[in-house]
Amino acid sequence: MSGQTDRVIPGVALFATCLVDLFRPSVGFAAARLLERAGFTVHVPPQACCGQPAFNSGDEERARDVARAFVDTFSRYEYVVTPSGSCASMIRFDMPRLFDGASGPAALRALEVAEKTWELTAFLVESGGAEIIDAENRATVTYHDGCSGLRKLSIREQPRELLRAVRGLTLVEYEGAAQCCGFGGTFCVKFPELSTEMCHKRCAQIAESAADELIGGEMGCLMNLSGAMARQGQPIGARHVAEVLAGMTDTPALGRGKGSV
């Protein structure tokens, strides 16, 4: 319990993530639509970031400041759902640790927020299952697993289970699906050559698959992979899994044309 007097607001607070907020608003709308279909009221409180850029750089003091604002915002809601495995695992596992040794409401509420935070596809499978999916898509797609979601939250089957409920969609696996794409947050600009090498390996594997579109649950990976494929002149576009599941694929693929908002 938060120990606060304000009551818990029923429904889901959507944490869009800073990358979706800035680069791909349609993912936020798609996530909201899916959550509403699953029967939840969706709230989008003013929000910024989960703190990963600082936390992964070792700057825990700055990460803590940002985490405190996050906890203040989100602790009021019944659930927190985010279309990202890496943000979800930051919130679930790392955010409470930032308050280790600090007693008081911030530390308690960090734990509370951690316990009610979910990655989008895991939340959808857990709360409604594939019945809420009402979408049609004729594409052949392949799925890239984000590392944090895969290894820290064991998210592997959930997005695939939901994708199989999309009418007409063909899901093929590619060889590098579970291997890192080389994004790694600030890693990709600290070690651009290494990052590019890893990314190009995945791009080559994607090109070898039968897929004409890349799907993933992690904006960072998708921006990395699709950005490299675009530069190489590969025709394979990329989309967040939420867009496909919500049937919101009328916008061009990531980075492949003018957006609609």
Partner: protein, 466 residues
Amino acid sequence: MKSTTESFGKNARDALADRRLQRSLPVIHEFRRDHERATGALPGYAELKRIGRQIREHSLANVATLLTEFEQTAEAAGARVHWAADAEEARRHVLDICAARDARRVVKAKSMVTEEVGLRAALQEAGYRVWETDIGEYVLQLADEPPGHVVAPALHKGLDEIDELFATAHGTASEGGRSAEQLVEEGSGVLREQHAAADVGITGANFLVAETGSVVLLTNEGNADLATSLPRCHIVVATLEKVVRGLEDASLLWRLLSRAAGQEVTTFTSVLTGPGERGESGGPEAMHIVLVDNGRSDLLGGEFHDALRCVRCGACMDHCPIYESIGGQAYGWVYPGPIGAVVTPGLTNLEESADLPQASTLCGVCEEVCPVDIPLPSMLQKWRRRAVEELPQPARSTWALALWRYFASRPKLYRLATSVVARLLYLLSFGRGTLRRLPLLSGWTASRDLPAPEGQTFQRAWRRRG
């Protein structure tokens, strides 16, 4: 050993541009398959891992007691135990032993700690003729390079390079194109002669057994067995954390280490207890065991304690996408890959090796395959935190993080600021949906397009739609 960790960034770029190296590195995909097969084929592997981890934890928690017991049992079996606080002392012990025996020729089996303390160079400087007898190490001795992997030190060397090195060293007339078998045969022939002629054989140890005073050696070539039996003196150089309670613990770790390294069992397994005895047909007259600390006792009990559980199977590096891209030598010191990035700052210093913990996406595959569950990614994180606390940070990243913190800890202000940024970047993209160049993000845009923001942030668009 001399370290080049300080120039990791350059080492990595050079490695990426090294076409011979890049042709050899995919061999680790075979190691990955071997690991998956060997660990998957054993029904009780998860249980074996659990017990293995407990054994290692027990060793570390009781290291002083176990080492004291080992000293007594090993000496009772006829070996001499020497303690070395650092690399200098370890080299000194070995040089003194060799000098006292009036030795001339030394054979060495593969051992990471002897690389760590720079033993071969010290012996050569003192005038000894030294031969590495692990075929991979021998190749690297000829090439004058440090090992690139803890199990397969020369995996980065192609057959053509080895052919050239052997032809030069052995005076064989080769036109190139010899097979691995032919090269191994030639190398082993040369090394067999050296074994027979050597005065001293030096090995490392996989485990030191406290109850029996035994040294356990696991190899795949059998060279360590020659090095411990043909020369009249055997010197073991081993680090403190190798000690285990009894033979049962050692045999369990042997199985675990073999599986994680991609085998059912290692080809050769030797349990050596004291020197050869009078009347025995083989074995050295003298056995010396040098126990090396070299920074490990400082790690015990601290944030990086768990890294000392490592059994040196190589699985973390085999699966690491960074290692896969640049190989082991770019890491710049003795231990490469994720475990290297964790122990190098601890055993050398963080200032010079600060790049190593940064050079990771924290993808977590290393922890997943580690047979003793070392939390490598969170240890890399810990080093990053220490770097922020202890070392001067580049002005640009400090400035960027400060700016980010200012806005990101004020959600309403952040919402406003990002909608301005989204607008600006959208205008910069001229409606093409993509940005091909951005001044502060050249690391990204050199090889990748950046999707352009679509004009509005999600938060702004959400509010507008109500």
